[in-house]
């Protein structure tokens, strides 16, 4: 066997040189971008808490995805890959001490909360709670309760254990319960407690 200095095929993504199919790649990326950008913007908005920061985060994340486009062999995994970049980039921005732009609201109007018919006034409390969470706990809550990922999927995106996902979710729900006035939370209303009803009977 001759001396070797070969490149080993990677198991996840090839680190070899990119192919010269830029036009085809750009067309595919543009089509994916049109379909998926609004959803990613919403996730970015929940992670960052303001519209301008969300667009900055999204632009950087999409650029990283664009640079890695040819490495993602499984096109069905693009959304998960993009979500992973988005969340990790958010952590990175925070790590660098990147500050939210104070004038953001003056440049890009913030969306007013959509008050659904079933909203009873706790939407603002939810928003305050989520935005007050540490960044990784916030990411857990957004992925789990907005993106509706499973605990295992959330753990995989964030690179943490399922147990940590469970504990972060539990803490967030407990905090929300504690902040919700009892008259707005059926779970805290003794009149709605099945046990109480049994006793009344």
């Amino acid at each position: 066997m001759p001396p070797t200095r070969q490149l080993l095929t990677a198991t996840d993504a090839d680190t070899g040189p990119m192919t010269d199919r830029e036009a085809e790649r750009d067309a595919a990326f543009t089509a994916w971008l049109a379909a998926r950008q609004p959803a990613l913007l919403r996730t970015a908005y929940l992670l960052t808490g303001d519209r301008h920061s969300a667009e900055d985060l999204l632009q950087t994340s999409l650029a990283k995805l664009y640079l890695s486009w040819d490495k993602v062999r499984d096109r069905g995994a693009l959304d998960a890959y993009a979500r992973r970049i988005l969340v990790n980039e958010h952590t990175s921005l925070w790590r660098r001490g990147w500050k939210r732009r104070e004038h953001a609201a003056a440049v890009v109007p913030e969306p007013e909360p959509l008050l659904e018919s079933y909203d009873d006034g706790t939407a603002a409390q939810v928003w305050d709670l989520v935005q007050g969470l540490p960044r990784r706990a916030r990411a857990v809550v957004v992925l789990r309760y907005y993106e509706q990922l499973t605990e295992a999927e959330t753990a995989d995106v964030l690179g943490i254990s399922v147990g940590t996902v469970k504990s972060q979710c539990s803490r967030a729900l407990t905090a929300l319960r504690e902040r919700t006035p009892s008259h707005l939370d059926p779970s805290l209303d003794p009149s709605l407690d099945p046990t109480s009803r049994e006793e009344e009977r």
């Binding site: 001396p3 070797t4 200095r5 070969q6 490149l7 080993l8 198991t11 996840d12 993504a13 090839d14 680190t15 990326f29 543009t30 950008q37 609004p38 913007l41 919403r42 908005y45 929940l46 519209r51 667009e55 632009q59 950087t60 650029a63 990283k64 664009y66 640079l67 992973r84 970049i85 990790n88 980039e89 952590t91 790590r95 969306p111 007013e112 909360p113 659904e116 079933y118 909203d119 706790t122 939407a123 939810v126 989520v130 990784r136 809550v141 957004v142 907005y146 995989d156 964030l158 690179g159 943490i160 254990s161 940590t164 504990s167 539990s170 729900l173 929300l176 319960r177 919700t180 779970s187």
Partner: protein, 390 residues
Amino acid sequence: MTDHTPDATRQRLEQGLRSRADLLTEAPLTLADVRTTARSIRRRRRAAAAGVAAAVLAVVAVPVGLGLAGTTDREVQPAPAPSPTAPAPGYLEDGTVHHLDGTDVALGGVQGVRAWAPLGPGYVADATRQGGRVVSFHDADGSLETTWPAPTTRSFVVDGDGRHAAWVLPSGEPVLLDGTTGELARLAPVAGARSPEAVGVLGTCPDDCGVVVADRGGRGPGATYLVPVDGTARPFLPEVPQVVALSPDDSLAAGLVGPAPDDIHSCGGVWSTGSGQTAWEDCSDNLYLFSPGSRYVATTFAEGLGPNSLRIKDAATGVLLHEMSLVDWMPGHVWVDDEHVLVNVQRGTDWSLVRIGVDGTEEVLAGPAPGVDEEEWGMAVSPYLLPTGP
């Protein structure tokens, strides 16, 4: 932990998030926007890579110049300058690297990290992905770049400048990962080796270096080989039955020669890699880790549950400079600079990270904290995982 929170609270949380986010239906970014940012990122990555290369050149130049001035291979070279892109080492906890300078980086896409290290501008880890053990390569932000098959025995090793990692594939082939480019070079296997594992990286990579591989598979103490990137394996320091560590400046190697007279400890010491001459020997410890500048060596004795004390010695003479007081368990330690070792310490049921200086100073940097349950060990282990040192 079971979630006992009523579904109503969860529904409120989900509705609250939707009420804020679902109004956003725009797609404000165009392909041109994305490409502009991508070009900027690409330029930044190239600049970072060039910075690492320049730092490596500067580090290599120092020992060569001193060598011409008449130093011997026994003399210890000055500590290499740290890479400008390498953050201060720290520890990993729950998948996130906490650097001593206060920055945090989550290693994404993997779980169950067994070992990790800064590598070039990014990171390398021995971890689990999709149920399988892999060596993963991450960029500076912790995003997963790619993975390769992991070794079956000892994990990866890192070279002295923190730019290359090496390990042995399950096929027996040593590999060398360039942390700047992400390129993996496959080297020639050691013929006849039964259980080869990487001990260190020798020389100046990528073109003039090799992986030092020890074969622990035989009945005896084993043998050690140097596998150059463009050649076949040849014996390395045959005077030393079992090489266990290399100094970052490549001038010294630590090794074991056999059991101590008390049949408990091991006899070993430090040898010159250039002449093969013994620098010093003793019969106490069996784990050796050289400081970044190769001036000192931290030694411990591991058996049973692992080491419970640590000694810092002059690497060239073996003179004891400081001995850490006994603890219940200290399963890991790493040099954080040329004067300090960071040690993972268990006292009772609590864990701490203690920084120990060559001058005897001890400072608790993290903890005390309770252990975490680990299925593999069936017991509580440290919540902190220190990086693999060079």
